[in-house]
Amino acid sequence: MRWPCRREGCTFGDSGVCGRAAEFTDPETECDDYLASQPPDAIAPPAQLATFPSWSGNALGPDFAGRMDLANPPLRVLVAGQPLSGKTSLVTAQFLDLDRTPSTSLPAQFAGSYTLYGYDRLCDAAFRWKEGAGADMPHTGRGAERDPAWLHLAFKFPESHKVRHLLLSDMPGELFNDWCGDKDGLDPSLIVPINVFWVVVDASRAKEKLQRSAARDLLGRVGEVAGSRRVEVILTKSDQVVRMSKSTKPESVLDAVADLVGQLRHAWTGTVPLQFTPLASYDGTNKKAGWRTLEPIRHLLEPTPKAPLHRSEPVSDRYVDFMGMGR
């Protein structure tokens, strides 16, 4: 039994067989569970809000994130990954890139954020970080006030004038460790409204058996719950892969990454094609901004393929293509 439908016998996500076929002539338009799993459409922003959306500027708690639904449903992204896999660095680098370069590289333009101060604090910490100093970015630790927390971005499409709100989770990696060990380790109410899963994997540690195992476990959990929702595997710290590949035994480093990608694809039990996106939140080799950090956001802003997604599609190995390694 797969999410979104909770009924026995429903394999709509896999094979298109609806467990409530007797009730629905068209599950895609009639099944509430299925519809809830689909990303909300961007809509024209209201010229007049019903209420004043008082916000603090810091990362949003679940209450505010819930209230946003009333005006314009946000697209919620669960940024999942093991501790120190680069989740916080990723969302920080994305905002730094938005602030650094004209947003012409995206199909929609920045239109606002309820969490500017939260982003600022993350960026401030990132700027103080020195490569090689250990601990990477300040770790998003457990704590009642951060658990879960959401970062908000709004983008406006120039042609349609519609606005898409994004909520990106900022949660401690230990929670995902718990989830791997216990399927109830994450509150199901957190998972239900998620529209997109970003599974963050540290590519620079692809050779480590434990790392590969942890990535497979996490992806397995995501596969159990994702249903027809989009899943993107983000291979972080790829600048280090590039650097290592230029120093010693390049083939072994690149083979390790390719092997990791292959293992993840092989272990994937979900119903949607996996998308792999290599990027670097910070380019340590060249001591400058990272690369491709906005690619996952671009994917969120591009038109979303509608289900049924049970058809088999070849998965392009974007990491391998990008790195010029060939297949």
């Binding site: 007049q48 500027g57 602030d99 004209p102 101060y117 960026c123 700027f127």
Partner: protein, 306 residues
């Protein structure tokens, strides 16, 4: 019907006092050939602070920063006289002081959506000032030493003074301004990203200290400069305001650097009104009248344009 109001918004050291002083001199310098005039519309005592700023400039000095924007409730009745008649309006420079914007941005507990913000959020004509040569980016946070207190700090109400503990942490320019502007729109219940009908709100971006920018960069125009210097702010403005309701000006209120003794001497001789200028448009034109942005905010066009 009450007179329309134009609010002046800018962080600390954005150049508000310098612009207001030059504006005062412009209003009091009678040039018969000017078809449109922004003038004071009240007894001289109402404009005491503005004249103080003007006097400082006309002897070749910058006004002490914080000299004006921290006083409570400074609203100046002005009028625009042109061939079609007189348009009265209010210039509101009180409730948007740099420190208040910083506080709003940081959300110090005692300053969350205070009454001033709620009341003034109704302003739909905004002059937003930011220093072209000092746009603080995210990566510059925490590196700047605390600015020494100067000017009339001793008479500034406590609520307007910077937090000592946070003094070295100037907020990034774009983020703080976006937060202030989107807060004001939210209080008017305008949805994020919504564009109201043409003329319902107007924003003039004034890039101050424009003369400090290289000629090559200036020649690309103020809008292009904003795109490069504050991309996030530029994107936010374009997402939330119609193109007809958004104008970017390069503003040199003093026409040069007053710390340059040669230029200071010239200002002493000709007056700051004659030295200051704005640049705008494509092709870019320079106008020796720093009140031009107010004219555009009122009417959505420059009445003196052909």
């Amino acid at each position: 019907m009450s007179a329309p109001a134009i609010a002046v918004v800018g962080l600390s050291d954005a150049g508000k006092s310098t612009w207001l002083g030059a504006l005062c001199d412009t209003m009091e310098t009678h040039i018969e050939s000017r078809p449109v005039r922004i003038e004071m519309d009240g007894v001289p005592a109402l404009f005491h602070e503005l004249r103080g700023l003007r006097d400082a400039l006309n002897v070749g000095n910058y006004p002490p920063h914080t000299a004006i924007v921290h006083h409570a409730d400074l609203q100046y009745p002005l009028r625009c006289t042109n061939a079609k008649g007189i348009e009265r309006f209010v210039l509101d420079v009180s409730d948007y002081s740099g420190e208040r914007i910083s506080r709003l941005y940081r959300r110090a507990d005692s300053h969350v959506w205070d009454d001033g913000w709620k009341e003034r959020a109704g302003r739909t004509r905004l002059a937003v000032l930011l220093r072209a040569d000092d746009i603080r980016r995210l990566s510059r946070r925490g590196l700047e030493p605390a600015a020494p207190r100067k000017g009339l700090a001793h008479v500034i109400p406590t609520e307007h003074q910077p937090d000592i503990s946070e003094a070295e942490r100037h907020p990034p320019t774009a983020l703080a301004l976006i937060e202030a502007l989107q807060a004001m729109r939210a209080w008017r219940r305008v949805g994020m990203g919504a564009q109201l009908e043409v003329g319902a709100e107007r924003v003039a971006i004034l890039l101050t200290a424009w003369d400090k920018i290289s000629v090559e960069t200036r020649n690309r125009g103020p809008s292009a400069f904003l795109d490069q210097g504050a991309p996030l702010l530029a994107a936010w403005l374009r997402s939330n305001f119609r193109a007809k309701d958004l104008r970017v000006y390069g503003l040199s209120a003093t026409g040069g650097d007053l710390s340059d003794q040669t230029h200071a001497k010239r200002v002493r001789e000709v007056g700051v009104a004659a030295a200051g200028y704005v640049e705008h448009g494509d092709p870019m034109q320079r106008i020796h009248d720093v009140s031009v942005p107010l004219e555009w905010l009122l009417f959505g066009k420059h009445l003196s344009d052909p």
